[in-house]
């Protein structure tokens, strides 16, 4: 997280706000609710308390405007810049302006969710600048999260509490039961990293963990951490498995009994489908890993210590499955939690270990750490 120079902050914890005008995109009651909830995001973790004014000048003046709206920082039409806010100070300080050329929504992943945009802007109004953590609310790029399940990430909590301290009404021993532990951002260099899924994608590689995935480019040793929902709002977090079908030129992503398909970075319509659409028996309720084996032309679906073999050409399961993984991949230990075939090797992940097998002989070569491809 970062704060403004001199750790600019309000001198008082009791602040006022006023909604000066409304966007026609939403009923006024929805705007009121989104603004109130966005302020509560910060009140919940600090001593800050907000009172609404309906006239006169408040510390945080909230307004909607388009193009040149009088503060010397004109908006730019639809998309691009969504909103901005000013650091704590008198006058325009603390004010938040929303670009009326955007479509603000309150309950869907389409358009821009007003609660999320407002919560971010109020972070500025209270003294936070942008964060480099892609999972933080104060990250500059917008990405959709279900507002009903929003939980302020730890990076933002640390930032705002560095200015105002914790919420005196919440005793740390008895944290708020409704609020889960704050979400954190995975560290590529954590030697104990356990990944959810891994796949190639037209020469790149994607490594999935919680709400994120790393994009690994062959020509670069700098993997890029990104929120899954910043690319695909409808793909779930915490996936079970992913693999690339070279034959279908698709990436398939699995969670529970559902499967989604990507063509490049576009979601394929008509998904999610069920696991049985991939040939898996109805008894299989989830898989833990998947890979496409170029040697045999088969797709292997793993369910912990067992695996199935699927023939994409015949579009049916091969006979005699499921089999024990360690029977075919001698030396494999533990349930398979992710799988990949890459440059002639088959990688089977189990917890923080990655087992490297020769794709042709299925001979175990090495046991490496799960973050091997993340350039640490």
């Amino acid at each position: 997280y970062t704060t403004f120079p001199g750790n600019t902050k309000w001198k008082t914890n009791k602040l006022t706000y006023r909604i000066v005008n409304y966007t026609p995109d939403l009923p006024q009651s929805e705007v009121d609710r989104a603004i109130e909830n966005a302020l509560q995001v910060w009140a919940r973790v600090t001593p800050l308390r907000f009172t609404r004014l309906y006239s006169g000048t408040a510390d945080i003046m909230i307004s909607f405007g388009r193009g040149d709206h009088g503060d010397g920082y004109p908006f730019d039409g639809p998309d691009g810049t969504l909103a901005h806010a000013f650091a704590p100070s008198v006058g325009i300080g603390g004010d938040a302006h929303f670009d009326e050329d955007e479509t603000f929504t309150s309950r869907s992943s389409s358009g821009y969710n007003l609660f999320l945009v407002a919560a971010h802007e109020f972070g500025h109004a209270l003294g936070l600048s942008h964060s480099t953590d892609p999972g933080a609310l104060m990250y500059p790029v917008y990405s959709y999260t279900d507002p009903e399940r929003f939980s302020l990430p730890l990076d933002d909590i640390r930032g705002i509490q560095s200015l105002y301290g914790p919420n005196p009404d919440v005793t740390p021993e008895k944290p708020d039961p409704e609020k889960p532990t704050p979400p954190t951002t995975p560290n590529a260099c954590d030697p104990n990293l356990v990944i959810d899924g891994i796949t190639t994608l037209r020469g790149e590689m994607m490594v999935f963990k919680n709400r994120f995935f790393w994009r690994v480019y062959p020509q670069s040793n700098q993997p890029e951490l990104t929120l899954i929902k910043s690319f695909w709002p409808d793909i779930p977090d915490n996936i079970d498995a992913a693999y690339e079908s070279i034959k279908a030129d698709r990436v398939f992503i699995f969670k529970g009994e559902k499967v989604w398909a990507l063509s490049g970075y576009d979601v394929v319509s008509g998904y999610p489908k069920t696991l049985s659409s991939m040939g898996l028996p109805a008894t299989v309720k989830r898989i833990t890993a998947a890979l496409y084996d170029e040697v045999s032309g088969k797709t292997l679906f793993f369910d912990n210590k067992y695996y199935y073999s699927y023939d994409e050409t015949k579009r049916q399961m091969d006979k005699g499955y499921p089999k024990l993984v360690e029977k075919s991949f001698v030396g494999m230990q533990g349930g398979v939690t992710a799988a990949l075939q890459y440059r002639g090797f088959t990688y089977l992940f189990s917890g923080s270990n990655m087992h490297e097998f020769s794709s042709r002989s299925k001979k175990l070569h090495r046991v490496l750490r799960s973050n091997y491809f993340l350039g640490c």
Partner: protein, 80 residues
């Protein structure tokens, strides 16, 4: 790979300049001293790539351009 059609690369050039001026305080001084302007642009591009965890090259690439085209907050990324 096919070269970007002139329009889109000029358009993209504009996207890059506007973005760096808005969020990384690139000064609009390229007219006076082109060499200094190019140097400034490279520095600011590196700052932006560093901030977003991209490959820090100071050279425009598709991943950097992709990030620049994403919807975002209008507050600069440089706290000061």
């Amino acid at each position: 790979a096919p070269l970007l059609p002139p329009l889109s690369s000029t358009q993209d050039q504009k996207v890059v300049e506007t973005y760096l001026m808005k969020f990384y305080d690139l000064k609009n001084e390229t007219d006076s001293d082109p060499h200094r302007g190019v140097h400034q642009m490279t520095l600011k591009l590196k700052e932006m790539q560093q901030f977003f965890g991209l490959e820090v090259t100071g050279v425009m690439d598709s991943n950097t351009l992709e990030v620049m085209k994403k919807p975002r907050c209008g507050v600069p990324d440089l706290a000061e």
